[in-house]
């Protein structure tokens, strides 16, 4: 099977699309984000908040880190999209995350769950299962995290000890459970809703040499699913655009410090021509 978006089972209604048709959708999706400035609420870990907010602004979105009870649920009802990232789970955030997820779910606000380092760590693992019940539009994680979320054995902290393909069945199982999209990040990213699947290869090993690249990608995905109707295409578009920016930043960088700086420049300086020329679908 050579198509890049294909059906896994008979239940899918997605038409197989050619790579160039997908690239067209990605470019259109990126443009839609630029045109609409989606308001992205983030309940995310304190380590990556500055980079995450800067990635969102560079990407054409408006970040709002509203993460306390009494505000999180109010804002989730009006935001364009909500990110819930479990990287650090201070007591205040632990309480706010379920109410924000519930409000997003009940108000039809697209939302993204990033189950950072679940598996070995009990508080966030329980939280991830509670949150999953509110049907995240997208779950984004590394292979170990997706395996853990599906009920398997997770990895060592934030590093994945499993490969993306080892997590493919787990990804499909989680997608079925949430009726949403699951994105497994790795050298080749897998994006699946249980039937339609896209693999993305844009990116750079330098993205693993700074803190928060994956977490920021989760926020960037939120901007896209807040804007574009098809969450598989939205998630793929975010991966491709982020990956292209990462490749371009790596070419300029002399180390992880300059890489992190150029990554923001390159996200902000993306345009339709660059995306069209540099998008790679395997």
């Amino acid at each position: 099977m050579s198509s890049h978006v294909f059906n896994q089972s008979s239940k899918s209604t997605a038409s197989p699309a050619s790579p160039s048709a997908i690239v067209d959708q990605i470019v259109a999706g990126w443009q839609a984000v630029q045109d609409s400035t989606p308001l992205v609420q983030c309940l995310t870990n304190t380590v990556v908040q500055p980079l995450t907010a800067n990635v969102l602004i560079a990407g054409g979105a408006a970040p709002a880190m509203v993460d306390v009870v009494g505000e999180a649920e109010v804002f989730a009802a009006i935001a364009s999209g909500v990110l819930i990232n479990l990287g650090t789970v201070a007591p205040g955030q632990q309480a706010a995350m379920p109410v924000a997820a519930q409000a997003a779910h009940e108000n039809g606000t697209p939302w993204v769950l990033d189950p950072v380092a679940i598996g070995a760590l009990p508080v966030r693992t329980n939280l991830a299962h509670t949150l999953t019940a509110f049907q995240p539009t997208v779950v984004r994680g590394n292979a170990s995290e997706i395996i853990a979320l599906s009920g398997g054995v997770g990895g060592r902290g934030v590093d994945s000890t499993a490969s993306v393909e080892e997590a493919a069945d787990a990804a499909r199982a989680v997608a079925e459970k949430t009726c949403g999209v699951v994105a497994v990040s790795g050298e080749v990213d897998l994006i699946t809703d249980g039937s339609t699947e896209i693999r993305c290869v844009n990116g750079s090993p330098m993205l693993t040499q700074i803190t928060g690249a994956g977490c920021s990608l989760g926020a960037y995905i939120t901007a896209f699913v807040a804007t574009i109707e098809d969450p598989v295409i939205a998630t793929a578009a975010a991966h491709v655009c982020f990956g292209i920016a990462g490749e371009r930043a790596a070419q300029k960088a002399s180390g992880p410090g300059t890489f992190g700086v150029y990554l923001l420049d390159e996200i902000a300086n993306l345009n339709a021509d660059i995306i069209r020329a540099e998008a790679k679908l395997p």
Copy 2:
């Protein structure tokens, strides 16, 4: 009326000052900050803490993020100035902010309130009204935030939906209530104590392309009001110096990543000649 500092009402005792006289005061104020290394306590949001601390150091001040009950009120009594920024209001900070404001007020420590995104968000809106009773030396916000603080209808998250001039009456009303200064940030910044007013135009649109520029300006203002007797001049001096650094950083930057880095370099590399040459008062 062509003077740049002028009286709004008969109660003012400020003399009209010429632009060049104001620039002299700004240069002298900047020098005083460099000479005294004011100790600036920050209770500020977790998104902007790194940039805020770095802006303060680059600006000649010493930051101290002391924001828990049991310490915040102790430190507010001895710090040179205190910043309270409502950008994220985790439970621990919610509790510490009023005790810090009260201690600053009772001990005569100048303090600055940045009522980030109040209006739509109930927890911080209530907190802002509680804090205002402790008479902040300066309130700094965008137009929507100042309108919300005066009792009007606020904006969408951190972005202002109103213009600075639309907020002018609200700014004067808040200044009257707090017996302090109100600064409304925008393309043209308005600084008022209800009678004396200065408008500042230094700055760059790039300052809106990174997270935390406005929040860091709030901290930078705190360093100036902690050092200079006249809070209107202190607030204007901070706006002008920060704006000049932003203009110079924008000239070098190739995007928001490099802009954020150069902003710190330019704040640190300011000197009296640069300020005198580049200060713009409309």
Copy 3:
């Protein structure tokens, strides 16, 4: 006495080592960190979390900011090393720090205490004394902080008001109490376990012009003590390598913004030849 590692008292079993022998151990230690990717758990302040995580990755370690009760103690038992930094002590961290320290102590996980700004601030001062009972492998601080930890009078916020040599007796007293190493950071760093002592002079004044350099050094030390058996050599190796990177970054930087970026590049680009050529032991 011209040796660089020497005995202070008869109880020491350390052999005096020549500077070149120490440099050999530092190079070997640095290589061991690169080869083992130690997993460093951080309970650290929110201001410096991004820089700290990036320094750890650049330095060859894997950061994990696991700092809530229910997870912190679980992770401290399996991490390669634990950093506890008192720079901001939100209620959730206040509760998690003692349980993490206890778990590290009971499971033989090397751990580092950075008693930021203790002395004047009561919450963290009490916390520091509680934590000290769990025998940190290394205590790292400035002179004022080490004096305060030994029971003396501390400084003003995060800035030291005492010199390293004024803190030497306090450092030895704390080392004796914790049966561990104490590192006093300053122009000349003092590293002592109460008997063996090393002084390090690599570094740059620019390290004081950004927020979090000292705090990140605490994390970097944790990566080394997690990897290398001798904690005096491990602590010295971290100081020397970090100081060399700081010197190299300062040569390239045009201000504190670019300095912070190049610091990460230079930490990542260290190699055995650079360390051997540029290590300075007084």
